[in-house]
């Protein structure tokens, strides 16, 4: 009963703060700062958001409750952030999907619905095969793909139109093949897709390296190349796709902190500064390193430019795989 009342009061408080008038920079934070996460509790995005939230709480001295608003392939949570009052009392985590969902025709919302605060993580995708597969290098795989007929090989690692699907399709196009060369088998996220690869259900899978760490360690799957501009610190032996094949291609998921569009720039600066202190906190950096998440801190206009570029590239790839609605 006590619990219920607390929940109710928390909900009421959130409701009241969300209708409050935009605050001046000096007043921020004016009560709890809600952090909306568009993905489920327990996932990677949720874990990073909760870590950031708990340190931010100490930094600014007000509670930072994390709210998981899941559903609709991320549409609901992403819209929840954009629709909140631009007063700095609601922030949230935007992920790569903000650049795909409007191309897929799921929503009108795109990155312009936000005031960018800071990009804190970007994990490039990598391509995996079963450990006992005949393909020793990415070039072997490309040769086999070139010789294969459309749809002969199957790949998995995310939902239809998810980041890992686009990574595979983008790779095929970069290597001069049609995106339909590999039939995509949709999965609920990277883990089931990688398990399917290990079980022999599909021939290739794409995922980020941290997501595949356990199966790699078990000697069941191995990475052939990573879709980034430089080799990664966590896997220095894995070549980048570009250096191994000469084809230009990089793609990966990312996570960034955003606020609703129309936030007073002075307040935005204040929040960004507080968050900047969070991401340099040793507890945060240790946590990210342990999970194998790549760290960065790209703020303001640079983050905006990053989202624009990401949006364009994803739109092109989605069009090529025939999923874009326009």
């Amino acid at each position: 009963m006590k619990m219920t009342r607390q929940h109710f009061l928390a909900g009421l408080a959130a409701l009241m703060t969300s209708v409050a008038l935009p605050a001046a920079a000096a007043d921020w934070p004016d009560g709890p700062v809600t952090m909306i996460v568009p993905w489920g509790a327990g996932g990677g995005t949720d874990a990073t958001a909760r870590m950031i939230g708990s340190i931010l709480e100490e930094q600014i001295g007000v509670p930072v409750p994390v709210q998981n608003r899941t559903g609709g392939s991320g549409v609901i949570g992403h819209a929840g952030i954009a629709d909140a009052a631009p007063d700095g009392q609601t922030i949230g985590v935007a992920t790569l999907e903000i650049g795909t969902m409007h191309h897929l025709g799921l929503t009108e919302l795109d990155y312009t619905g936000y005031t960018p605060l800071g990009l804190y993580n970007a994990d490039p995708a990598a391509i995996f095969v079963q450990d006992k597969s005949d393909y020793a290098t990415i070039s072997d795989l490309l040769t086999a793909l070139n010789a294969a007929s459309d749809g002969e090989m199957k790949g998995s690692g995310s939902a239809q139109g998810g980041v890992n699907h686009l990574a595979l399709a983008g790779m095929l196009m970069a290597a001069g093949m049609p995106a339909s060369r590999v039939t995509w088998v949709p999965s609920e996220g990277a883990a089931p897709g990688l398990q399917d690869l290990a079980a022999g259900g599909v021939a290739v899978a794409t995922a980020s390296l941290p997501e595949a760490a356990a199966l790699m360690e078990a000697g069941l799957i191995r990475p052939l190349a990573v879709f980034s501009n430089d080799r990664l610190d966590i896997a220095p032996d894995v070549p980048t796709f570009t250096e191994a094949t000469g084809h230009e291609f990089a793609l990966g998921s990312w996570r960034g902190l955003v606020a609703p569009a129309g936030l007073d720039p002075a307040v935005a600066d204040k929040i960004t500064a507080a968050l900047g202190a969070v991401v340099s906190d040793p507890r945060y950096t240790e946590f990210m390193a342990q999970r194998g998440y790549a760290m960065q801190w790209t703020t303001g206009a640079d983050f905006e430019a990053f989202m624009t570029a990401s949006d364009d590239r994803l739109g092109e790839t989605l069009k090529a795989v025939g999923l874009a609605s326009e």
Binding site: M1, M3, T4, H7, F8, G11, A41, G42, G43, G44, D46, A47, R50, M51, G53, S54, V66, Q67, N68, R69, T70, G71, G72, S73, V75, I76, L104, L106, T107, G151, K154, A159, Q160, G161, T183, V185, P186, S187, E188, A191, P192, L194, Q195, D196, A198, A199, G201, V202, A213, A214, L215, E217, A218, G219, L220, F287, Q290, R291, G292, L323
Partner: protein, 496 residues
């Protein structure tokens, strides 16, 4: 393994650990006993706290909470016929029937002990054979999961205590609800009428609360039953030993089925309890009692859902693949603690892993004394007239439905489906098959479609892999046997 066990003991038996486990057990019991607050939610709420704990206490906190919550969800199921989690929905009619017969104490006694025994069995399997079993579980692809999910779905028809036709219609209604939202394979919105809220589908927990709680509340208001004699809920253990001994086959079978299903990454404690309940009914000498207060069915399904909880840790620890939503969270915590899941962790941190498994055992043993305490506290509810309880129960339901997505849509879903369920039950349609359809509809569909994609739309692919073919035969037997029996029965009728 023995050295690891010795090294693990001092990690587990400390005052610090005892306090943490006791606190988490209380928390888990509370969350489980409140309809609408789920074990997954309790676990997610613990995560930020575990950031500041050592690895073994951190995992112990989660394990204890989850084990208690899954057991405790039987308490509201028995007392007010509202399941705390989907796992209790399989045998809720039996719990309810026993309560009405004045045997509420015995029903909860069975639930407490069978849960504990199932959980201990699952933990022992985990301790002895986790790495070996995980390798087997990895051989399951969408073909095998399709048949497994179909087997679970078939349970709906076997479970139906009334007309098979009505059970089938209820199941189809559940499947229709499950098809609302974005199609998981093609990403195409179905029956959403342009609403973004429905893109994610009908949220499962609000549907569960609505379909069980709302009809009960409406009936309370409409019928104004005089208070039913409920018996003493604290008479839990009288004659229980004899019953458990007589149903030792059920205990063993329930624990085994639960553990196996838990180990498979695509299926958790809810599917485990449905399938084992159906199996129990199939092999029972008194199948007509099922759904009307069957003690053996209760034993088997309660053992299955707690053993599945432990089983889910096998693929999680060895391959970082979650067996259910709780282990998905645990994997995250393991990474944070530097116990990165993988086969190597059993070698590099064998003592800590063993310590974690020991906490599984302790948590499941703790179910018995703490469960008794929780039942004692919760059973005061039975003294209150049902009519007076209706309002606070509705409040709990609304909060539970809201808190899943922090959205009012959950409340609407709960109320609408609840009203539907009332109309169904008033007209003799069972609700359980509909719930099963909502739980498993997507699982069946997703695995069917992904399998078809892999097999280039050839149905033969479903029979090509040996395990898949074996499961297929099992499903076909389940479907063909009743038809055969019916045909044979008709022939003898004609002859006589």
């Amino acid at each position: 393994m023995f050295e690891n066990l010795m090294a693990a003991l001092p990690l587990v038996f400390t005052w610090h650990m005892a306090l943490i486990m006791l606190a988490c057990a209380t928390f888990g019991l509370f969350v489980g006993a409140v309809p609408g607050l789920s074990a997954t939610m309790a676990t997610a709420m613990l995560v930020p706290i575990t950031f500041f704990m050592d690895p073994v206490p951190a995992i112990a906190a989660i394990v204890t909470t989850a084990a208690m919550a899954i057991f405790a969800s039987d308490i509201p199921a028995a007392l007010v016929r509202i399941p705390g989690t989907a796992a209790s929905a399989a045998y809720i009619n039996d719990l309810d029937a026993m309560t009405r017969q004045g045997k509420v104490g015995r029903a909860l006694g069975i639930s407490v002990t069978a849960s504990a025994i199932g959980g201990i069995f699952g933990s022992l399997v985990l301790m002895v054979a986790a790495p070996q079993l995980a390798i087997v579980s990895l051989n399951f692809t969408s073909f095998e999961y399709f048949w497994l999910a179909l087997l679970g779905l078939s349970a709906a028809v076997m479970l139906g205590s009334g007309s098979i036709l009505k059970s089938l219609m209820a199941l189809l209604f559940g499947l229709m609800i499950a098809s609302i939202g974005m199609d998981t394979t093609a990403g195409f919105p179905r029956f959403t009428f342009g609403s973004t809220t429905l893109l994610g589908g009908v949220a499962f927990v609000p549907a569960l609360i609505g379909m069980f709680a709302i009809p009960e509340l409406i009936r309370t208001l409409v019928n104004r039953d005089p208070v039913v004699p409920v018996g003493n809920p604290l008479r839990m253990f009288a004659g229980l030993g004899g019953l458990l001994w007589r149903s030792k086959t059920n205990l063993a079978r329930g624990s085994t089925i639960g553990t196996i299903i838990g180990i498979l990454p695509g299926a958790g404690s809810d599917i485990g309890s449905w399938i084992s309940y159906a199996v129990s009914k199939r092999f029972s000498r008194t199948p007509e009692k099922y759904g009307k207060g069957s003690e053996t069915g209760l034993v088997e399904a309660c053992a299955a859902n707690n053993s599945a909880l432990s089983g889910a840790y096998v693929p999680a620890m060895v391959f970082g693949i979650p067996g259910d939503s709780i282990t998905a969270i645990v994997i995250g915590v393991l990474y944070v603690k530097g116990l990165n899941p993988g086969p190597m962790v059993f070698l590099t941190s064998g003592d800590q892993i063993m310590a974690i498994f020991l906490t599984f055992l302790i948590a499941n043993i703790m179910i018995v004394p703490l469960g008794l305490l929780a039942v004692a506290l919760a059973s005061q509810v039975l003294r209150v007239p049902k009519l007076a309880l209706a309002a606070p129960i509705l409040c709990f339901c609304i909060v539970g439905a809201y808190s899943i997505d922090s959205a009012a849509s959950g409340v609407v879903i709960m109320l609408v489906l609840g009203l539907f369920a009332y109309l169904m039950e008033e007209n003799g349609f069972p609700v359980a098959p509909a719930i099963l359809g909502i739980v498993m509809g997507l699982l069946v569909e997703r695995n069917f479609v992904t399998s078809l994609i892999k097999a280039d739309s050839s149905l033969l692919g479903f029979f090509e892999r040996p395990i898949a073919a074996g499961l297929a035969v099992l499903v076909l037997i389940v479907w063909i046997t009743p038809v055969m029996l019916w045909l044979r029965g008709r022939r003898t009728e004609v002859r006589t």
